[in-house]
């Protein structure tokens, strides 16, 4: 019995406090932000990172020259490491400077000059470690050190140095490196002067080698460091959206020492890569990278300190968002991200207080949120009692159902095929979809542009007249009869081909097979049944699906797009003919090509925001609505929940460096956790009692047997 008691005592002592606390007891009372990640971030290298699940890390570590203002809406670019947001200067083909109002056709090049703040320092990192003689300690890497290292904090010597303009230039050159396969390399080759030439040179120089290629030796015509704190980027033609890219980690600085450090032989085999261990100047640095369990960001002691914004939107002061104005950020000491692959534990741990904030799955919606008197949403009493807060925002993204325009049945720009698509677009009741699957968290799309972007129109002018009627001050989906009429005009009265009487069968291609998908697919078939169209679900794995999309053998599919930057160009280019998926490998998944639309797109793309651009966008959206290559879906509305101890939260869809703004009241959190997580021993005691009860007859039988044998 002794050892049992001993272990019991040990067990109980190990978990003083709530027994279900998933964190070590030593972390209690600390200013740590707890969150989760659902999938291992694959690339933390700023040249390669492009997934939404990587930005929680890259956003805090890397500092591009610009950032989005945390509080102001519409989204506004403000300097981060730069001294000011750069203004483009325009030049003609002869190299003469043009006035800012010059027509786009005359502009041969735009030049952006960026001045960065002096005195910014990189985080501590072994790549910067130098001996007394000024020689790098770990370049070349001593084998004995490498044999013991599995993580960057394992290296005994660390160092730092000041950020210079050359580090920004070095990173832009990395974007061109064929070895890194930066996802935006193809795009940047169209814009940055000399970018493709550098790519070719690097491909030749690096073809036979696996070791570090010192990019400082290779010139990039369009990008140069003017002095220690200034660099200049030369862009072909006029591309006003370019400044948005300067707020993304792609354009963050990267010291050549880090590149040299990680590109040594044997490093990748020990998981020591830039994809796993980023090097930046930001407020936080990665100290634990165990992607099967936990990622941990800790305050970067070298961070210069940045004041919390002093002004915000209307109402921000009342919300307490300006309480910290002017104080030096960051406020939170560390951020712990735990792997959480399933939604149920994620949500439950949030309710238990072990995560500070949570997104909202459709299954938890009714528990957390209800519609208030005015039609807006408010928290349920249960959530309010817990002191949970709600933040909402409409994401700059768009979901749609696409028709493959190359397909013989649903494709084609002629009257008949167009009417077939229009009929389907009416039949698919997006309002019901949003109600069932997103619990009302979305607004039905009237066109390709999500709200909050220039060019989006509200109200009567903004509705899609093909699918909606304007009635009583609201957009109302046309009745199903209208769809049936269109279907008949398209040559399929009552869902059967007028010529042959053959029933119309359409194919829906999808790669989904999660637990929730069957319900969704059933619903979709129900929508087509309204028109007597049989929808065949062709579900497959992701690879095959991509194959089909590339070959253009799909018929109908679902797709979505998240904005890279808040400009209508970033959505309308999804329908630009030369961007077709088939053949060109672009992002125009529906393979839509309308010459008029393409012509307007080229015009619109280079315009500055203004009435002229609005007119162009209006006519483009009108063309797309009529042609209906997409049945517009919806723009998701994000509902974020957070506990009351998490301060300074304002949903910001463009900024990804929110962590530094957050503040945590750790004492309040500990009190709440203790209150919410009282173990219930009664339940298991009951279960034990039941088991004992079940064993009772056995005991009786035993004693009877004993008696019998004793007699």
């Amino acid at each position: 019995m002794r050892p049992v008691l001993f272990f019991l005592a040990l067990f109980l002592s190990a978990c003083s406090g709530p027994v279900n606390n998933p964190y070590p007891a030593t972390e209690r009372g600390q200013s740590i932000f707890y969150s989760a990640f659902t999938e291992r971030p694959k690339h933390l290298d700023p040249a390669r990172s492009y997934s939404a699940n990587e930005t929680p890390f890259t956003g805090q570590i890397y500092e591009p020259p610009l950032q989005y203002h945390y509080l102001k809406r519409p989204y506004q670019l403000v300097p981060l490491t730069a001294l000011a947001v750069p203004k483009a200067r325009y030049f003609d083909s002869a190299g003469h400077e043009l006035p800012p109002a010059a027509p786009a056709s005359a502009i041969a090049a735009s030049v952006y000059e960026i001045h960065i703040r002096p005195g910014i320092r990189f985080q501590s990192h072994p790549a910067f470690a130098r001996s007394g003689l000024g020689q790098p300690i770990y370049i070349p890497m001593p084998a004995a050190v490498l044999a013991k290292a599995r993580a960057i904090p394992d290296f005994p010597e660390q160092g730092s140095r000041e950020l210079t303009a050359a580090d920004y230039v070095y990173q832009i050159k990395r974007l061109a490196s064929p070895r890194l396969q930066s996802p935006i390399a193809g795009l940047m080759a169209n814009y940055i002067l000399g970018f493709d030439k550098l790519s070719e040179t690097l491909a030749l120089a690096g073809a036979k080698r696996r070791d570090w290629l010192d990019l400082r030796r290779f010139p990039l015509a369009g990008v140069e460091a003017v002095d220690r704190y200034t660099y200049r980027i030369k862009v072909k033609g006029k591309y006003p959206q370019f400044v948005y890219w300067l707020a993304m980690p792609f354009f963050a600085p990267l010291p050549w020492e880090a590149d040299a450090f990680y590109n040594q032989p044997g490093m990748a085999e020990r998981n020591l890569t830039l994809d796993g261990w980023p090097v930046g100047t930001g407020p936080y640095m990665l100290t634990v990278n165990e992607p099967n369990r936990q990622m941990r960001l800790e305050r970067n002691p070298n961070f210069r300190g940045e004041p919390y914004p002093g002004e915000g939107d209307h109402g921000d002061a009342a919300d307490g968002l300006l309480n910290d104005a002017g104080r030096s950020m960051p406020f939170v000491d560390a951020a712990v991200y735990s792997l959480e692959t399933e939604t149920i534990p994620y949500w439950n741990k949030f309710l238990q207080g072990y995560y500070d904030a949570s997104g909202l799955g459709s299954d938890n919606f009714d528990q957390a949120v209800r519609t208030g008197a005015g039609g807006g949403v408010e928290l349920t009493p249960e959530m309010t009692r817990k002191g949970i807060r709600l933040g909402t925002s409409v994401a700059a993204s768009s979901f749609y159902m696409g028709f493959n325009m190359l397909d013989g049945i649903v494709g084609g720009l002629d009257e008949q095929h167009r009417k077939l698509r229009q009929a389907i677009a009416i039949a698919i009741d997006e309002e019901e979809y949003i109600a069932i699957f997103a619990n009302g968290r979305g607004i039905p799309a009237q066109g390709p542009l999500p709200p909050g972007l220039f060019g989006y129109r509200e109200g009567r002018l903004g509705i899609n007249p093909v699918v909606y009627d304007w009635q009583g001050g609201k957009a109302l989906r046309k009745p199903i009869e209208a769809a049936r009429r269109l279907l008949a005009e398209a040559g399929y009265p009552d869902g059967r081909a007028a010529m042959t009487g053959r029933p119309l069968v359409l194919n829906f291609d999808t790669a989904s097979r999660g637990p929730d998908d069957k319900a969704r697919l059933d619903w979709l078939r129900k929508q087509f049944h309204k028109l007597n169209i049989e929808l065949v679900i062709r579900s497959t794995d992701y690879n095959r699906f991509q194959d089909k999309m590339r070959d253009g053998t799909e018929q109908i599919f679902e797709w979505g797009w998240n904005a890279d930057y808040p400009d209508p160009e970033n959505f309308l280019f999804l329908l630009y003919g030369p961007n077709k998926k088939v053949g060109a490998g672009g992002e125009n998944a529906a393979n839509y090509q309308n010459p008029e639309f393409d012509r307007l797109f080229i015009q619109m793309k280079d315009m500055d925001n203004g009435p002229e651009r609005q007119v162009a966008i209006d006519s483009m959206v009108g063309i797309v609505r009529d042609d209906a290559p997409w049945a517009f879906g919806f723009h998701p509305r994000n509902y974020g929940l957070r506990h009351r101890w998490l301060k300074n939260v304002k949903p910001n869809l463009m900024a990804n460096n929110e962590l530094k703004y957050l503040r945590i009241d750790a004492a309040a959190r500990d009190a709440a956790r203790a209150g919410w997580n009282r173990p219930d021993w009664l339940g298991p005691a009951l279960v034990l009692a039941l088991v004992a009860l079940a064993l009772l007859p056995a005991w009786f039988a035993y004693s009877r047997k004993q008696e019998a044998s004793g007699r």
Partner: protein, 450 residues
């Protein structure tokens, strides 16, 4: 109407035919009847067999597929609806068609979730709206529902009892005086009452509630029975030739053949089962994708996938039976009369068919019975891993997988999970009990048991 013969339909009918032939064979040979007689005297086995037959009846009735003709169209010629229906669909009547908007609890008259409704005066309120079908015949569901349900349960039980009476009168000449008669009678009574209950209430209420898109859960559960039964039964059917052929020949011929077969099954056994299945299922998907001509409708596609899944499960699970058969054949081979037959130069084929197979058939039967329940359970796990049946196909695995997330809702949506649990449990329990009895009756080793 045009009948549609899906691959698995054909195979399940083949299986039924095989069973009938087997029964006929057993009835003709006295020595084969002995263990079956023993089995028939075991009430647990008989009750389990009746329940299994009930499930099989559902599965078989769901395996007669057809497409209805459409009204004559403009272009002349008959065309058929692309929707494939089965006899079960017809029998279950309105269940499939009575689709609500979203979740509703068992016997509910209102939706499970609130909805924003605009009143006549333009105000918006959030209420639980009435269901389109469930309890739609009631004016004031809150007060009338309990009484109405009671009355209908009464009708159902009486109807079930009458049906049972008719059924039993029909069956009595065969089973009335057999030892198993009372058990059959009682089990049938339970099943009839249960069915009567469902038939009486099904058209008026969602007895097991509705799922996320408002489909009746009872209907989905009934449809899942076919998938479960097919996976259990067809898999063994497709593996039998392989395991019998390889196992028996390894034991009988020995030498090189034995070495080769042993090598084959050790190698296959060495690979973790789930991984082998996952890899094979992924291949199968590739093949299905690159041959769109193999199927015309979505149903046929899902069916083909089910067939391949059975084949794959079979390929990875034949090894166990083959090993047992090999061992048993080694023993039988040494029996005097087999040796004698060989000495007289009787051909190998003849010896195999005449002497070896009848002597090892009990092992095959036991193994088939034992594997059935394991396969039904395996389907659920495979669906969780993402390599199970087609996601559009109703199956217990897909139901559990989908319902898993529903438990996190507050209040929890428990009925889909509970239905899948109950029906699956009944099926597997019956199969397990039957398999147990089969083993007791057939295995000479267990006959010795005290």
């Amino acid at each position: 109407m045009r009948p549609v013969l899906l691959w698995t339909d054909g195979l399940i009918w083949l299986l039924v035919a095989g069973l009938i032939a087997f029964v006929w064979l057993v009835r003709r040979h006295e020595h084969l009847r002995v263990p079956w007689r023993k089995l028939a005297s075991d009430p647990v086995a008989v009750a389990a067999a009746v329940v299994l037959l009930f499930f099989t009846a559902i599965a078989v009735s769901d395996s007669i597929h057809f497409r209805l003709a459409l009204p004559a169209g403009a272009g002349g010629g008959t065309h058929y609806s692309p929707e494939v229906r089965s006899v079960l669909d017809v029998l279950s009547g309105p269940l499939a068609k009575q689709q609500e908007k979203s979740y509703s609890a068992p016997f509910a008259c209102r939706l499970f979730t609130r909805e924003t409704v605009t009143l006549a005066d333009g105000r918006q309120v959030r209420i639980y709206p009435r269901l389109r079908y469930g309890g739609a015949h009631l004016d004031d569901p809150e007060r009338q529902r309990t009484g109405d349900i009671m009355v209908r349960v009464g009708y159902g039980l009486v109807g079930g009892a009458l049906a049972w009476l008719a059924l039993w009168l029909g069956l009595r000449p065969w089973f009335g005086r057999a030892a198993s008669g009372p058990t059959i009678r009682n089990t049938l009574l339970v099943l009839c009452l249960f069915s009567g209950f469902l038939v009486a209430l099904g058209p008026y209420y969602h007895v097991l509630g509705t799922d996320k898109v408002g489909q009746d859960v009872l209907y989905a559960t009934l449809k899942s029975v076919r998938t479960g039964v097919l996976i259990g039964a067809l898999t063994t059917l497709v593996t039998l030739p392989l395991s019998i052929g390889l196992g028996v020949s390894a034991g009988y011929f020995g030498g090189r053949v034995d070495d080769a077969v042993q090598y084959l099954y050790t190698t296959l056994n060495a690979i973790p089962g789930v991984l082998l299945i996952a890899a094979a299922v992924l291949i199968m998907q590739t093949q299905l994708e690159s041959h769109p001509g193999w199927f015309e409708t979505g149903t046929e596609r899902a069916d083909l996938r089910l067939l391949f899944l059975c084949l794959i499960l079979g390929m990875t699970s034949w090894t166990g039976l083959a090993r047992l058969l090999r061992g048993e054949t080694l023993k039988v081979r040494e029996l005097d009369y087999v040796m004698a037959a060989r000495a007289f130069g009787v051909s190998d084929i003849r010896i195999l068919l005449r002497h070896i197979l009848p002597n090892v058939q009990h092992i095959v039967l036991i193994s088939v019975a034992m594997d059935f329940s394991g396969l039904v359970l395996a389907e659920a796990v495979l669906s969780y891993v993402g390599v199970g049946v087609d996601p559009t196909m109703p199956s217990f695995g897909n139901m559990i997988n989908g319902a898993r997330l529903e438990l996190a809702r507050e209040p929890a949506v428990w009925w889909q999970l509970a239905s899948a649990f109950a029906f699956m449990f009944a099926l597997v329990l019956a199969a397990n009990l039957f398999a147990d009895s089969v083993q007791d009756a057939m295995d000479p080793r267990s006959r010795r048991r005290a």
